[in-house]
């Protein structure tokens, strides 16, 4: 075992644990921000400032009874949450979150701060996002309940509709960066224009960024696009029949997907780990700050905007977002041809 391999394995474990705890952290963050926006206090009893509330929630979920409807398909019912959670974890594997480091000279060859450096990383993220639909669809179908089925069907229709715009916004960035590797894309955003404007792609791709964020909300089934689990119409949508830890897995997948979408947005549009004041070796602090900012934006959206109607969502996806993203892609391609960016 070379030191590099040991460091790589340790890093993978750290990322895994960090993702798990980020979901717990997001639960607390979401509740606190929601309380802030609604002039409430939020959780404050369990632990200092309610910090142990997520832990209490997890313990509660673990000791709940695991229920399964009699008419449900046992195999798929058990498989669906696993698919959801696995896809959520897998997508983060190709996301880089810091510059190469030798850990203060401990390693001979620098270590990349990501699980796997794939040269088609953008496409891998897109592929895994398209696979995560299955967890939700199968949960909806295998529960053998009308609310679950409707939730699952809505979710698949929604994800198919928004995946196109999502892919187009990714394509416009990779045109600018001239690479499919996320590390290359981040490195293409180092430096500044005129000495003070960072060379982030968000300034070259403002429309692409907006499309990405909108489609990202739809992909992660968050409000105002949370139709798969619209409470008033569908009880809890695809996970109506789930309880205990299998419900927790869907919950986990949703929050990890949010973190992944934010992390990818940071890498694609906000310059990844590049930022002023800090040395490159501490760039991951910038990365975490940017991800936290986008996550705050997501939570803010959820507690500010009411849910749309389902037909409005589909019409918006196909008649507004898709044409705009195609136009954006064409303009970007023309710009790259004309100015050779």
């Amino acid at each position: 075992m070379t030191p590099l391999l040991i460091a790589q394995i340790a890093l993978t474990l750290i990322i895994f644990v960090a993702l798990l705890s980020s979901a717990a952290g997001m639960v607390y963050f979401e509740r606190k921000v929601a309380a802030l926006l609604q002039q409430r206090l939020g959780p404050y009893l369990v632990g200092p400032k309610g910090l142990l509330q997520p832990l209490a929630d997890v313990i509660k979920l673990m000791f709940k009874e695991e229920l399964r409807p009699r008419a449900a398909d046992p195999l798929l019912f058990a498989l669906a949450p696993i698919i959801s959670a696995t896809a959520a974890f897998a997508a983060f594997a190709v996301v880089p979150f810091g510059a190469e480091t030798t850990l203060f000279g401990l390693l001979d060859t620098p270590l990349r701060l990501q699980v796997a450096d794939v040269n088609v990383a953008i496409l891998v993220i897109f592929a895994i996002a398209s696979m995560s639909v299955y967890g939700i669809v199968l949960a909806g179908w295998s529960s053998n309940s009308k609310y679950s089925l409707l939730g699952g069907l809505r979710s698949s229709a929604q994800m198919i509709s928004y995946e196109l715009s999502y892919g187009m916004s990714l394509a416009s960035v990779l045109l600018l960066a001239n690479s499919l590797s996320l590390t290359d894309i981040v490195n293409g955003q180092s430096g500044t224009w005129f000495g003070f404007v960072p060379r982030w792609f968000v300034f070259l791709q403002p429309v692409g960024f907006l499309i990405y964020m909108t489609a990202g909300i739809a992909e992660t089934n968050r409000a105002p696009f949370d139709f798969p689990e619209a409470e008033q119409e569908l009880v809890a949508g695809y996970h109506t029949e789930y309880s205990s830890m299998s419900f927790a897995m869907f919950f986990l997948a949703e929050y990890i997907n949010m973190v992944t979408v934010s992390a990818v947005a940071t890498d694609l549009f906000l310059g990844g780990w590049h930022g002023p004041f800090l040395p490159v070796s501490l760039g991951w602090i910038w990365f975490l700050l940017k991800v936290a900012a986008i996550l705050f934006f997501y939570v803010w959206m959820r507690w500010t905007l009411p849910r749309y109607r389902y037909d409005q969502l589909m019409a918006f996806g196909w008649k507004v977002l898709l044409p705009v993203s195609v136009l954006n892609l064409i303009v970007t391609a023309a710009g790259v041809l004309a100015f050779g960016l």
Binding site: D73, L76, V118, N119, V120, L123, V124, F126, A127, S130, M131, V133, Y134, V137, L138, G140, W141, L149, G152, L153, S156, A157, M159, I160, E163, L180
Partner: protein, 172 residues
């Protein structure tokens, strides 16, 4: 090589199980597994781009639509009225044609596997970048590419016309 056999075995077994299932949902899922294994084979062939596209297009987009249709039709069991003891060649026309095609496929496979000797290893192609694939697609292979896209367009228009026809007929 172990990985090759692993992915190959998954692909073959999953494909066989696709047609052995009574429940169409399981068939769809097994087909996805088979596509996933094929994607693994592409990775082993140093073609990561094709591997990921295989997942995005087939396992992601097309199979979601399949699953969607199967769920909407809600056909839990595929009932067959046919007597399975009857010889395939004596069954109705479509099945007879299918038998002929199956025999042809098996013959072709046997020919393909025996025609090349085991030792003949082919030259691995140069590592192809996405840019190269795009350039080749729009220059050398522009005609097949465009024909394929027209074919898909025709299928799409056909599907819309067929769906519309029913709706218009209902109103009249």
């Amino acid at each position: 090589m172990t990985l090759f056999y692993l992915f190959g075995a998954v692909a073959v077994i999953a494909s066989l199980l696709v047609i052995a299932q009574r429940n169409p949902i399981y068939s769809v899922l097994l087909l996805i597994a088979s596509f996933g294994a094929l994607s693994g084979l592409y990775v082993l062939l140093d073609a990561p781009f094709v591997a990921v596209i295989q997942i995005i297009v087939y396992a992601g987009a097309i199979m979601v639509l399949f699953l969607f249709v199967v769920m909407l039709l809600n056909a839990p069991q595929e009932d067959t009225e046919l007597d399975m003891r009857v010889h395939p060649m004596l069954r109705p026309g479509a099945m007879r044609f299918g038998t002929v095609l199956a025999v042809g496929l098996v013959a072709e496979l046997i020919w393909a596997l025996t025609a090349t000797t085991g030792s003949a290893s082919f030259q691995p192609g140069p590592l192809i970048s996405v840019a190269t694939i795009g350039r080749r697609l729009f220059t050398d292979y522009a005609f097949p590419f465009e024909v394929t896209s027209v074919l898909i367009l025709v299928a799409m228009v056909g599907a819309v016309v067929m769906a519309r026809h029913d709706a218009a007929g209902g109103k009249r």
